[in-house]
Every structure is written in C-alpha cells, then in structure tokens.
C-alpha cells in the first residue's frame, strides 16, 4: 500500500536532515503506531504521506514515497486528498464551516461531486463515526472528543484508503481520547482501513496496533517492528511495560489482563521479609499538623445560572501535595480559579492564609494582586501566557508584575532543564518545554502555594518523567501544590492527597493510596495489576519484587 524508498528530507534552512534514508513498506489494512519524543520527525513522516511535505513546507526531498502507486511529492496534497485522509492535533483549528454536516460536505464540494452522491457519502460518514446525533450542531458547542471525531468524519467522506492522524488525542482528556481511539480501532477492524497514527497514549492503543515505528530522536535510525519487540528496546513506556521489562516478564504483557497472569505468579512467590509500604499513613495528632494555608467553606459558584461548584469545603495545609480529580466539567478548573481570585464565590468563602503573618485574606475582598503574592496559578494552555521574545524576558515580566526586581534565574532554569533556552523565543519550543517555561514564569515570583491545571496535557513520556521529577523536588522543598489532572500515573507518583470532585462537590477526600485502591477508574496501572493498595507505582512494585527477580 505504502512504500518508502531511501526517503530523506531536510526542512528549508535546517542543517541536518530530519528523515534520513528511510525504506520500509506498510501493508494494506495495517494499523501502524508512530511513536517517539516530540521533534523526532513523527509529524514530518506523516506529512510525507499526503504531500504536505514538501508542498506546504518546502525543503528538499530525495528518494521516493508511493501511496497506492501514487507519488505524493509529485501530486501534492490536493492530488492525494481522495486517497489519504489527514487529521491534526488541535481540535480547535480544523474547521471551515461551523455546522457539522456542512463541514463533512466541505471536502466533497471541493471535489465537485454530484449532490446525490454527496448526500450518500455524508450519511455514511456520520454512521461510520457514529456522530449522526451531532449533524445539526454547531462545531463551537462540541466537546474536544466530539470535535476530533467530526474532523475524522470530515476526511472519511472522501473515502480515503489511508487515514493518517498526527497526535489526534494529545489535547484531549482521557475520556475524550478513548472515544477517538475506539473510533479508530473500529475503522481499522470493521473497514480494513489502513491507519497510521502518532500517539503518546500507548496504553490505550498498543494492544490494537500491528506494528510500531519508533523514532528515538538524536539522529538515530527509527525502529520498526512488532509492538512487543519494539517496546522491549524503548526506554520510556507505560508503567505496565516498564515493570514487565524490569522483572523480565516474557512475552511483554500489553494489557492489564495479560499482566495479571504474571502479577499473580509474582504475588505467590512474594518474599516474606519484604513488607509492603504502609497503606495508610500513621494518624497524627491535630496540633502536630502544619498550619492551614487555604480554607474553603461552603463554596458555591455558578456560570450564568449553571452551577459549577456547590457547598464545597476543604482545607489545604502547608506542604501538602493535593491532586484534584474528576471528569470534565466536575469543577476542577473552576475551583483553582477560585483559589487564585480569578473567580469570586457566589456563596461561602475562600480564605488564603499568609504563611508569615498568619493573617487570613478573604478572596471576595482581596484583589488578585494581593492573592498572587502567595498563590501562583499555571493555566492549562501555556500559549495563553507566553508572548515575550525570550524565556528570560518572560520571567522578568512576572517579576515586574509582582513589583519585584529582575533576579538571577539560573537555579530555576537549571532545575527545569531550560538553561540552554534562556534566550530562545518561547513559542518556538516544544509543548513540554513551553509548559516548563510557563511553570518557570509563575514560580519566579516564589509563591507559597502552586496551582497547576492539567500540567501533563500534550507531554510525551520523557517530558512527563521530567515534570514528575521536578514536582517531587518541589514537594520535598516544602512547597504546597494543588494540581487538577486526569493523569492517574502522575498522581500516583507525586500527590499525597486526592480530592475527587463530582458535580461541583467533593466526593472523596483522602490519602492517595487509600483513594486509588478503593477506586477502579482512578487507579494507576500498577495498582490495577496487583490489586494491592500498597502498590501504586513501578518503584513500589520493584522495591517489593526486585529481590525476587534477581
């Protein structure tokens, strides 16, 4: 179906080739996963398939690509549109028309198909992607997952034989990502459509894909092969596979179901001498506890009559690392904005206690400027923050806003791994680096309490791991952190308290181990694998079983 022959490509103005002498074939009906760190050439490879590279980007190509006998380099994206469907990362930026049905027809109108055929194709695409109920909706009212499915349907109307998706779920929360990936699996299995997908969320798709193409970056040749074979050579993988490799489980389990078999065997041979870490922390006496920094009492808030938070109460003490979890629309972001004074309570009150003086500020009376002396908030989208010419100016801007003199940032930039980018234009950096610049530009004001909103969205495993390391260090230094996230593994690795929100109310509030082991949805992979409240992370499991394995 698709054949690469000695393909090399260099972006205009770049020193090195990003794709170097690639030769391989993709069979018809194959589901190929393209993975690897950001910037390693995944997107470039995908864009070669429909001619966006080099027609849209310029640059120099050598070698040949053939898709079903057609040459995208010669024909360009317009000539490939009916053969290769292409879906991008950002669900916001792919729509020409505001109404779902018309958006689906857009590509067909461009091809000049007769109206009767168009009607048939649109109906079929609506059914294939299962979005017939959205047909009259306006795109701006759809959720992220629905938008991505509409984007897929909009290319399916052309009845392509190959579907290419460039990180279609990286901007989505896990539930929405699941919707999109399930759709792809269905298209591949029911229609035999050839699918080429680049994706960070391996744990969702790895059991369905036929082969994996791994770009390691650093100019090394990509690896292509069966999932198990490739994953055994790759360093950063989902916890299940990391653990399987560490304990030499073979063949490598791709799903929890497969992993359970090994886990049960391991549990039987569990060495008695090694006790699992305490499931619940020893209870402390009340007056030993550090002081309360944030106190929320009976908080209620609604957006234009839609209640977002209802009668919510919680206290956060100094040095705690709290994870706010819950489905979309449960009120996580609203709560964070309440804590930093961007939103004010309709009912109840939010108090911020100044750690030095112990004076309490009511957010209804204090201004945002006063609150941000103590509370820093990193919004979901780092692009909302960054606008200066260099990373250093970005940090200066925050210092200035806080009325502080420009400082030395070497320490901060170093811990975030940004030293080499200090004089780069922040928007040129990768998603993970941008996220860290945003973090730096809030931390530079030294807030006592740090609020994070979905800090791992769009990050690959490498970037996630470095964020986890950074957050663990910050917690050790005694900074109070409250983080809204969907990322169960991140919570398992960092947080010591989980607050589960539902419908704007606190559903569960307790230590991470306890909450996770009692929940099926909000449990980490390792926890699901062993069904043991003592084991949440790979490190937990390894500390218990390492001697066993040796």
């Amino acid at each position: 179906m698709i054949r690469f022959e000695h393909l090399s490509y260099r972006y205009p103005g770049a020193d090195a080739t990003i794709l170097q002498d690639l030769s391989f074939e993709i069979a018809e009906g194959e589901f190929l996963l393209v993975m690897g760190p950001s910037g390693a050439g995944k997107s470039t490879l995908l864009r070669c398939l429909n001619g966006l590279v080099p027609h849209f980007y310029g640059g120099t190509v050598s070698g040949e690509v053939l898709v079903d006998g057609r040459d995208p380099v010669a024909l360009g994206p317009r000539g490939m549109a009916d053969l290769v469907g292409f879906v991008l990362q950002d669900p916001e930026a792919q729509f020409v028309v505001d109404r779902v049905e018309d958006e689906l027809a857009f590509a067909l109108e461009n091809q000049g198909l007769p109206p009767i055929l168009m009607r048939k194709r649109v109906e079929e695409a609506l059914d294939q992607i299962n979005i017939a109920h959205l047909r009259h909706r306006s795109v701006s009212t759809l959720s992220g997952g629905e938008r991505q499915r509409v984007a897929i349907a909009a290319v399916m109307t052309l009845q392509p034989r190959v579907l290419v998706l460039d990180e279609p779920t990286s901007q989505l929360d896990p539930q929405a990502a699941e919707e999109v990936l399930d759709t792809l699996v269905k298209l591949n299995q029911d229609l035999g459509l050839t699918i080429i997908l680049s994706e960070h969320r391996l744990e969702r798709v790895v059991q369905y894909v036929d082969r994996i193409l791994y770009f390691s970056g650093n100019g090394q040749r990509p690896i292509l092969g069966e999932p198990r074979q490739v994953l055994s050579q790759v360093e950063l993988t989902p916890p299940l596979i990391t653990l399987a490799k560490a304990l030499d489980w073979s063949p490598i389990p791709l799903t929890i179901k497969e992993g359970r078999r090994f886990a049960r065997k391991a549990a039987r041979h569990r060495p008695d001498g090694n006790k699992a870490p305490e499931a619940t922390p020893p209870s402390q006496r009340r007056n030993d506890q550090p002081p309360v920094l944030i106190s929320v009492k009976g908080l209620g808030f609604s957006y234009n009559g839609h209640p977002a938070l209802q009668d919510l109460s919680l206290d956060v003490r100094r040095g705690e690392f709290v994870a706010l979890m819950g489905r979309n629309g449960a009120g996580k972001t609203t709560l964070l904005k309440q804590l930093v004074g961007l939103l004010r309570p309709d009912q109840g009150r939010v108090q911020i206690v100044a750690p030095t003086s112990g004076a309490a500020m009511d957010t209804r009376k204090a201004s945002v400027e006063e609150i941000i002396q103590y509370v820093g908030y990193v919004p979901q989208n780092p692009n909302a923050l960054l606008f200066n010419d260099t990373v250093r100016q970005e940090l200066d801007f925050t210092r200035h806003g806080h009325g502080l003199p420009p400082g030395e940032y070497e320490g901060l930039l170093d811990t975030l791994g940004l030293t080499e980018y200090a004089s780069h234009y922040p928007r040129d950096l990768s998603v993970g680096e941008r996220q860290r610049v945003a973090l730096a530009s809030i931390l530079v004001a030294e807030p006592q309490v740090l609020l994070l909103d979905e800090p791992t969205r769009g990050l690959d495993y490498q970037q996630k791991a470095s964020l986890v390391a950074f957050l663990q260090r910050e917690r050790a230094r005694g900074r109070t952190i409250i983080m809204a996230t969907h990322d169960v593994e991140l919570v398992a690795n960092c947080a010591d308290r989980v607050i589960l929100l539902g419908d704007g109310q606190v559903v569960v509030d307790g230590p991470t181990r306890q909450v996770m082991s009692e929940s099926l949805v909000f449990a980490s992979q390792i926890n699901k694998l062993f069904r043991d409240p003592a084991l949440l992370t790979v490190e937990d499991a390894l500390s218990l079983y390492a001697t066993d394995a040796s």
Partner: protein
C-alpha cells in the same frame, strides 16, 4: 421553509420602501407586515433569539429621535411650550410638528431594523453563504472561516487576559494591551496555518481550473473595458444630459460585459453544492409578490416622487396622504405568511425534516 433567494428578494422588496418612505402610514403598514411575518414564521427558529436585541435597539433609536428633533427644530405653528431663547440650539419654541417629524424619522429607523431582524430570524447566515454565486465562492469560504473563528478568539482572549492578570499584569493603558494582543495574534496565526493544512489536505482549491494565460488576460481586459464603459456612461449622464440615450446604452453594455465576466469565472470553478435548496410553488408565489411590490414602489417613486414624502411642517397638513396602490404593494409583503406550508416554523428549526433527507438518498 422558503428558498434563500426568495427571502433575499423579499428583503429587497421590504428594505427599499423602508429606506425611501417617510410617510408614517406606509411605514406603520410595513412594520406591521414584518412583525406578522416574524411572529408566525421567525419566532421558533434558532436564530430568532436575536430579534429582541434588534427591536430594543430600534425602540431606543425611536425614543431618541423624538427629543432630538423636537429640541433642535423650532419650526411650526402648534407650540407646546417655550424654552429660554438664551439657551444655545435647544432654546425657542418646542412645536408639535417637530415632535411628529422626529417620531416619523424614528419610525423609519425602527422599520429598517425590524425588517433586517425578521430576515435574520428566517434565514441563517450559513444558508446565505451557500447562496453566494460560484465566482465568489472563495470570499464565501473566507467569511465562513471568520464566523467559525470568532467564538474561539473570544475564549482565547479571555484565557490570555486571566493568565496575564495572575502574573501581576494590570490592564490600564493602551500599552498594557500588548501582553493580550501578541499571544492572541500568535495563537490565531498558528491556528490559521493548521487550518490551511487541513484545507489543503482535503483538496481545497483543486476545484479551480486555471484558464490559459491568454484567455485569462482576455477576460481581464474584457472586465476592464466593461468597467470603463459603465464609468464613461455614468459621467456622460452627469455632465451631458442631452446624450442620455447613448449614456444609458454604454452603461447597459458595460453591465452586460461584467455579468459575462462573472459567468465565465463562475464556470472555471468546478465545485458542487451540497444539499441544494429546492424551489417550490410557494417560492414562486412569494417571489412574484415581492417583485410586484417592489415594481409598484419603484414606478410610483419615478412617476410621482412626492407620494412617499411627508412633512408635518407648515404649510403642509399634519395628516399624511395615503395612496391605496402603495398600501396594496406593502401588504403583498405578508405573502410568505399566507403561503408558507403548515408547520413551516417548526421545520425551519431543523433545517429540513429527516423524511425528506432519506428520499434524496434514494
């Protein structure tokens, strides 16, 4: 319920009298006809919700026009009261005539707004965009994208504003807007590039076949000649009224040349329309009624220009004149209400019933 073209014709037939008439009786008749149209057909459509704000604006302008005129124009015999002469502009007698004249101007503004509000309620802007002729389709796509972009821009702007505030930035002067404007622009540009990619990947632009260089040049020269013809014709009309016939002839030839150019260009675009609206018998009825109404108004305007004119100031009478023919013309504008299929309003909210959808497929 009706074809978009039918509604456009109706809009023209309703807006022209609203613009040229100052007679309160005609205006009230037109207002009444439009109001009836909205209450029977427009109320239940999704776009109908914007009606209220249009009407509010109209009523506000109406209420503003009365004191404005009454205080600034001091002509008339029926004096209501006096303001001290020493007050600039507003000083002097306040007359009933000036009050009435103000009310009539306000009524005209209100009528224009209500006509557009009713049109807006029965035709949504996507239908209108679909109706753009094919030589303009690129412009149509640009407008469509802009409409799709706006809600995203608003959300994005709010996000950025909040993000900069929590970095301690205060928006006070114009210069302080930079931290808002730069990321907003950068975000929009990044999105535009992505959108361009997806459009390209979906074959946008492949529908335009480029004519040969010579034919393209010829057609452009033709358009230039046509434009020059229209220009010369119009200047002849203005400066040499005796050469009237020749001037009109030139204008006519120019306009025909332009239409030919557009038709030629439209044919270059090999693009089809999804879900063409179909033209039914009621469309013909409404279109003919609108055309007759418009023709009567234009003919009356050309033959007896004073008919639409109304001034309450002496020596004129306070009572406006009324020509039954014009009244009939305006009443023809209620035609959509009379011939609309039953349940049309309900249907409009769903753009087309599902049953008819399936027929088309078969």
């Amino acid at each position: 319920m009706f074809h978009t073209l039918t509604w456009v014709l109706w809009l023209v037939a309703a807006v022209v009298p609203a613009f040229i008439m100052r007679n309160p009786l005609y205006l009230a008749l037109l207002l009444g006809a439009t109001w009836l149209l909205y209450t029977t057909l427009g109320r239940t459509t999704p776009m109908g919700s914007s009606w209220g704000s249009f009407v509010k604006l109209g009523v506000f302008l109406f209420a503003l026009a009365i004191p404005f005129n009454a205080l600034s124009i001091h002509i008339g015999q029926i004096v209501l009261f006096h303001l001290p002469e020493s007050w600039p502009i507003i000083g002097g007698p306040i007359t009933l005539e000036a009050v009435i004249a103000g009310a009539v101007s306000g009524l005209a503004l209100l009528t224009i707004l209500v006509v557009f509000a009713a049109f807006n309620a029965v035709v949504d802007h996507y239908q209108l965009l679909r109706a753009t002729p094919s030589f303009l389709f690129q412009a149509g796509v640009v407008i469509s994208i802009a409409i799709t972009f706006v809600p995203q821009m608003v959300i994005s702007a709010r996000e950025i504003r909040q993000a900069q505030r929590i970095r301690g930035h205060r928006f006070r002067g114009l210069r302080d807007l930079l931290p808002l404007v730069i990321p907003l622009l950068a975000n929009s540009l990044e999105r535009s590039i992505q959108l361009a990619e997806t459009m390209e990947a979906r074959g946008f632009g492949s529908a335009v076949s480029l004519p040969s260089r010579r034919r393209a040049l010829l057609s452009q020269l033709g358009l230039l000649a046509a434009l020059v013809g229209v220009l010369v014709g119009l200047s002849l009309l203005a400066f040499y009224p005796q050469a009237r016939v020749w001037a009109w002839l030139l204008v006519a030839i120019g306009v025909i040349g332009m239409l030919a150019f557009f038709a030629f260009h439209g044919r270059q675009v090999k693009r089809t329309r999804y879900r063409r609206q179909s033209w039914h018998a009621p469309d013909t009825v409404v279109a003919v009624a609108s055309a007759i109404s418009l023709a009567i108004v234009i003919v009356v305007r050309l033959t007896a220009p004073d008919t639409f004119f109304y001034s309450p100031y002496p020596p004129n009478s306070l009572l406006p004149a009324f020509d039954p023919l014009v009244g009939v013309a305006l009443l023809l504008l209620v035609m959509p209400v009379l011939v609309a299929p039953r349940g049309a309003a309900r249907e409009a909210s769903n753009s087309e019933p599902a049953a008819r959808d399936m027929e088309h497929v078969a």
